[in-house]
Symmetry: C2
Subunit: 115 residues, 2 copies
Amino acid sequence: MARAATTADAFNAVAEPRRRQILDVLAGGERAVNDLVALLGLAQPQVSKHLRVLREVGVVDVREDGRQRLYRVNGPALRPIHDWVQGYERLWSERFERLDDVLADLKKEEDDGSE
Amino acid sequence: MARAATTADAFNAVAEPRRRQILDVLAGGERAVNDLVALLGLAQPQVSKHLRVLREVGVVDVREDGRQRLYRVNGPALRPIHDWVQGYERLWSERFERLDDVLADLKKEEDDGSE
DNA sequence: TTGACATATTCCTATATCGGTATATGATCG
DNA sequence: CGATCATATACCGATATAGGAATATGTCAA
């Protein structure tokens, strides 16, 4: 078996740095393909291919406008990533340090009581 | 050129679902390899290989304890993912809807004034 | 030391990628 | 209609995977 398809889910689609760059540009608003080509300095076919992957996992949406296709971010598709990684924030954020102290104390009391 | 190595960064390492499962278990505290094997129902070599990838990107740390090796999550290594995806939260979170309204109003006024 | 246990590494195969180049599709303009 | 612009797709080659099976490494116990 090979690695999971990049179109398997948002995690895989977003693992590619160029695709994150594309999203970062689109975060500023709708863009045509050639705008992305110019802004990122990538070849046009590469951009189209990356956009296809992003489209297939639902991270971007397209809209036709004459000859152009305007791409935009579809935020909610990124939510699974956000939610998953959010669960680990307490492992580095000061916000949770006090809470961790409290929980540690509670656990200690509990252990002392039952042992 | 092929796809970026899974050990290239945390984004790639975490794109694999099994590796996220491993992290989710380790989020509950230090675990030996065989614990993970039992808990996840994976083959031992596969688990070791996934742990290697996670180790190489710094997402987990190891500690030797007799015959066992105890793995634990190294949270801060996940922070780049958190920070990146955080920038998109406003695209779905109600928390930011009011703010977006305000910004839209401001932009509208600005445009009306300069045109 | 020998053996059992815990974990890591190696070898294998199938597959899906990525970039590059060429080309196809589709829309607009004259 | 023919030419041009905008984008998508097809084909190529190199590479890095993921799982499976076998095996190597390392540690403890008797």
